[in-house]
Each structure stands twice: as structure tokens, then as C-alpha cells.
């Protein structure tokens, strides 16, 4: 087995407030291989975005990574000194945020923002960086890039701006792209184009992609594998077809029931009753137990650990540990 691009083991992230220490991420483990797209899905507050920020080292005080390891192509990148993690950001990990309208500095030409980023991470000259910036804009599908490079962000539409943001994220040929809800703020018609673009770029450059979203439709059509998060933990992770067709975790079942399909028009969408617990009031045992139809005594006492079930892995007491097969 080749070395994964990103390997996260038992990640814990805490936010220290005056009142209490809130654990936003609690023992999350996953890997992403070269060229693979991992979808991370879950409700708002499940810890998807915080996981992405933790990987790229942008958790600011009062938040901190309180445990676990993050490895990028075999080297640990959690708890790097600020200057070293900065060199990783943008160069080895590219990040795409949710809102393209606010991700670009309104007072700088987009060309200057791309050139600045390229020159921060490479030794290219100003003119070489400019040529590269034009190529990048062309690659992300901006028409007439040699003209548009001197435009200001407000002169671009939302979809075009997100393409610029993607160009910025890939301009140093990163090994990993973290896309945090990259389509949520866009029109439905543009969403598919952006998703297709991210997928194509990942394939063409062999880049690993971590795609954070709450849209199961996007996951189903883009990702190779999917991780379902709930209350700062991974409830279930596995190949996307398996998880979508045959979800094991009761929460994942509910989530899959919430995908509208063209075929099943007559079937009513299933809703999961209740809401995810607040960080300050996560119940003992399995955090999903108050909403789970299958919950039994053990769920309220003991925290379920991830259990391998075929190609999937699920954190639920309904499943018995299988005879351990080597991974």
C-alpha cells in the first residue's frame, strides 16, 4: 500500500472558553490517498470545517489541537512552528473557502493576488509568475485570462470568482486541496461546474482532495470515499457507493434517507428527529443516542469505537468487531 497523502489519527481540537473547554473534534481518524477525493459530510457544527482548518493549521486561539497526529506525505504537520506551517499552507495544501465573494481582497487585482501567492512559494520572476498566473486562469476556465488578470474581484461573477479562488489554491501545485463547502454560496447552475472543475484538477494533477460539504448529492457524484461526521466524531467512513447504498450507522442511514432521488418520488424523505447536541452538552456514550431509534443501554454509557465492516468503518454498538483483518 502506498503512503497516503494525508493521514489524520485521533485528532482532537478544543476551544478553551472561560466556562469550559469545548471539544469540537474528538478522536477523528482518516486517510486520503493520492488522487483520491474524500467527502466529509455532516450537519452544521459536526466539526467538518474545523477538521479542515486543523489540517491546514488555521485553528486560532482560543482553539487548539489538543491531541492526535496529522501527517502530510509522511511528515507530521501538526504543531509545526508558525513559520514552517505557513510554508506548507498554499504550497503543499491548497484551501478553498465557502464564499468566493469575500475570499478575495477587494482592493487588489486578481492577478496581483495570484502572482503574490506564486512568488511566496516559488522562485519565479515577476514576469514568469504572471505567465503562470495566466495559464492557471485558463486552466480553471476563465475566458480571456490575459485580459481578466488585471481585473478587480468585483468585476467577476460569483462562479468566476470561485474559479479564481481555485486558481489561487492550486497555484503552487499542492499535494492536497481542502475545499470547505466550495459550492454552498453559488447558484445551483454554477455548482456543478465548480465541482466538475475540482474533480478534474484532482485527477489531472493527482492531487488528493478533502471536500467538506453538507450536500449528499455533491458527495455521491464527486467523491471516492466519504466520511460522515457527527458531534466531532466520524460516525461512518467508507467507499462512497457502499455508504450511500448501504449505510450502517443509524445516523448515516437517516442522512442517506435525506437524499432526494428522481426515481423515488413517491417515497417520503425520512427526517431525523431532534437536533445535534451543543458542544457544551454532548451526552455520554454515543453522542447520537438521544436521536437514535436503535439506542440501547450501552449507547448511553460507553463511547463506540470505529469498527471495520468490510470496506466500511462504523462507530456504533450495533456492530460487533469483526475478526480483525490486516488493513
Amino acid at each position: 500500500m502506498t503512503q497516503p497523502v494525508l493521514s489524520v489519527r485521533n485528532l482532537e481540537v478544543e476551544f478553551v472558553t472561560r466556562r469550559a473547554t469545548l471539544r469540537a473534534i474528538n478522536g477523528v481518524s482518516f486517510e486520503i490517498a493520492k488522487g483520491e477525493v474524500l467527502g466529509v459530510v455532516g450537519e452544521s457544527g459536526a466539526g467538518k470545517s474545523v477538521t479542515g482548518l486543523a489540517v491546514i493549521g488555521l485553528i486560532d486561539p482560543p482553539g487548539r489541537i489538543s491531541g492526535g497526529e496529522i501527517e502530510l506525505s509522511g511528515t507530521r504537520i501538526d504543531h509545526l512552528p508558525p513559520e514552517e506551517i505557513r510554508r506548507v499552507r498554499g504550497k503543499r495544501i491548497g484551501m478553498i473557502f465557502q464564499d468566493p465573494l469575500t475570499s478575495l481582497n477587494p482592493l487588489y487585482r486578481i492577478g496581483d493576488q495570484i502572482i503574490e501567492t506564486i512568488r511566496t512559494h516559488t522562485d519565479l520572476s515577476e514576469s514568469a509568475a504572471r505567465r503562470r498566473a495566466i495559464d492557471l486562469l485558463a486552466e480553471v476556465g476563465i475566458p480571456a485570462p490575459e485580459k481578466r488578470i488585471d481585473g478587480y474581484p468585483h468585476e467577476f461573477s460569483g462562479g468566476m470568482r470561485q474559479r479564481v479562488v481555485i486558481a489561487l489554491a492550486i497555484c503552487a501545485e499542492p499535494e492536497l486541496i481542502i475545499a470547505d463547502e466550495p459550492t454552498t454560496a453559488l447558484d445551483v447552475s454554477v455548482q456543478a461546474q465548480i465541482i466538475a472543475l475540482i474533480k478534474r484538477l484532482g485527477r489531472d494533477h493527482g492531487t488528493a482532495v478533502m471536500l467538506v460539504t453538507h450536500d449528499m448529492g455533491v458527495i455521491a457524484e464527486t467523491c471516492d470515499r466519504v466520511a460522515v461526521m457527527y458531534s466531532g466524531r466520524i460516525a461512518e467512513i467508507g467507499p462512497v457507493q457502499e455508504v450511500v447504498r448501504n449505510p450502517l450507522h443509524p445516523y448515516a442511514k437517516g442522512l442517506m434517507g435525506a437524499i432526494p432521488t428522481l426515481a423515488g418520488e413517491d417515497k417520503r424523505l425520512v427526517q431525523i428527529p431532534g437536533a445535534m447536541p451543543r458542544l457544551s452538552a454532548i451526552p455520554p456514550g454515543c453522542p447520537f443516542n438521544p436521536r437514535c431509534a436503535f439506542a440501547f443501554d450501552r449507547c448511553c454509557i460507553e463511547r463506540p469505537e470505529p469498527i471495520r465492516q468490510g470496506t466500511q468503518s462504523v462507530a456504533c454498538h450495533l456492530f460487533e468487531p469483526a475478526k480483525e483483518t490486516a488493513a
Binding site: F15, G45, A46, V50, P62, G63
Partner: protein, 319 residues
Amino acid sequence: MSDAVVPHRTQDHQAPAGWVRRALDSDIFYSFRRSRLTMVAASITLLFFLLAIFASWLAVQDPFDPAQLQLLNSRIAPLWTADGQSPFLLGTDEQGRDVLSAILYGLRISLAVGIAGVVFAGALGITLGLIAGYFGGVVDTVIMRIADVQLTFPAILIALLVNGVAKSLLGNRLDEMSTLGVLVIAIGLSFWVQYARTVRGSVMVEKNKDYVAAAQLIGLPAPKIMFRHVLPNTMGPILVIATINLALAIITEATLSFLGAGMPDTMPSLGTLIRIGNNYLFAGEWWIVAFPGIALAGLILSINLLGDWLRDALNPKLR
């Protein structure tokens, strides 16, 4: 700090109660941290008011009464220095006026002019704001245009102009009481804009609410609706403006008097005392200017702190 936003945002719609409680807690915490300072400021302000009210009992002489001043006693240094003389605790000025007594009486003048100026400005601003907001249209445009233009000029300039014009109309030699009146008018005309804007804004919001429509339906006259029903809803911000303006009004009065366009030497306010004392600074008689200066600075600082606290307490969003 910026990324702390992440869990907040994600939690928001899930369970507001906990975060609201947390925010409340932090406000109280914040208030508590500041409250010691605020308490000190409030006590000092109160002390100044009491000193001003009971000036005639506390002072060893009436500094406004020339008969009580003796040139023999002029320029005596404060009591604790080698040249100090009882009963002149803070020394005397060149006319033999006891500095402490002058400060107590001057405090009275400064506070009186300040409060009267604020009341006048408030009455003018509130009335114009109510009229502008309630009637709208041309009346509103005219009043708010004047306000806009006036707001571009510093209050001190307007106060000086009003002062000069008033003196020209009334004759240059004014007695003390009319000077007091001119100062109050000058300050009032300099500070009405903020009240008018605030009140107008509130009225525009309030007048579309159901209770005003109901009052109109049962046939209450417009002035009654405005003063009885709309105005009480704007009292919070007005109180804040008035407190902060009190400090500004006292500064303006002191500045006018310092510039020689305010209270005369025969009935000095704190600003006048500082102007007089400033002339003796080079002669080494620092106490004539220092103590009125400290009194003025302390008064303004404590009122300002009180105003800041009031603003935060009444409307945390305003910060």
C-alpha cells in the same frame, strides 16, 4: 480569535440559548471588570456636584465679592509649602482670592452652564427631531440639511460665533448674568444636532408601529402622540448623549472662558481661572493654574467614564 467564530457560527441555529447565556455572562463580566472604575468615576462626579452645591458653606471666602479680597493676601503659595498661610489651603491668586474657594464657586458656574446648555440643546434638538421625523417632507429636509451643514463645523467655532454675535447685538459690556445666558445659548446651539438626529431616527421607526397608528385612530393630537408615546421610547439614547454632551459642554464653556469669550474675571468659571492662572505660570506660581486645571480635568474625565459606561450598559451594540 478569528477562527473561534467557527464553532460559534456552526452552533448558532442549533441551540441559541447556551450562547445567549454565555454572551450575557460575558457582558456582566465585562461590566464587572469596568465597574470599579465606573464606581470611582460616579463617586468623583457626585463629589464635584456636592462641592458645587455646598460651595458657599465650604469656601473660606466669597471669591465673587471684591470686598472680601485683600491684596495683602495675594499670591500666597499652598499651605504645605514653606510660604503657605492659613486658611488658604491651595494658595491665593494675584487679587488675594483663595484658590480653593474660587475653584468651588467656579465649579458651580461650570456645572450650571454645562447643565443648562445641555438642557437647552436637548430641548431644541428633541423638538426639532420630533418635528422632522414626525412630519417628514420639506420640514424634515430643511431641518436635517441645517443639521448636516452644522455638523461639519466644530462646536467650539459655532459657540464662538454665537457668542460674538450675541455680544455685538447686546453691546460689548455684558453683566455677569447675561454672559451666563449667552454661554448657555451658544452651547445649546452648538450641540442640538445629535439629539435631533437620534430622535428623528427613532421617530421614523416608531411612527410606523401599531401603537402610534392606534393613537392616531382614537384621534389623539400629533404633539400629544409625539411627547407621550414616541418620545419615551427614545429616552435611552438621549440619556447617553446628554451625559457625554455634559462633558463636552463643560469643555466648551471652559474653552470659551479660557479664550476670553466666556465668564469674566469678576465671576470666574474654571476656564476663567485657568486663563488667569496661565499668566502666572512663568513667574513660578503654578498653583493658580494647576488646581483649577486638575479640578476641570477630573470632572470631565469622570463624567466621560460615566457616559461610556452608560452607553455600554444601555446599548452594547452601540460600541
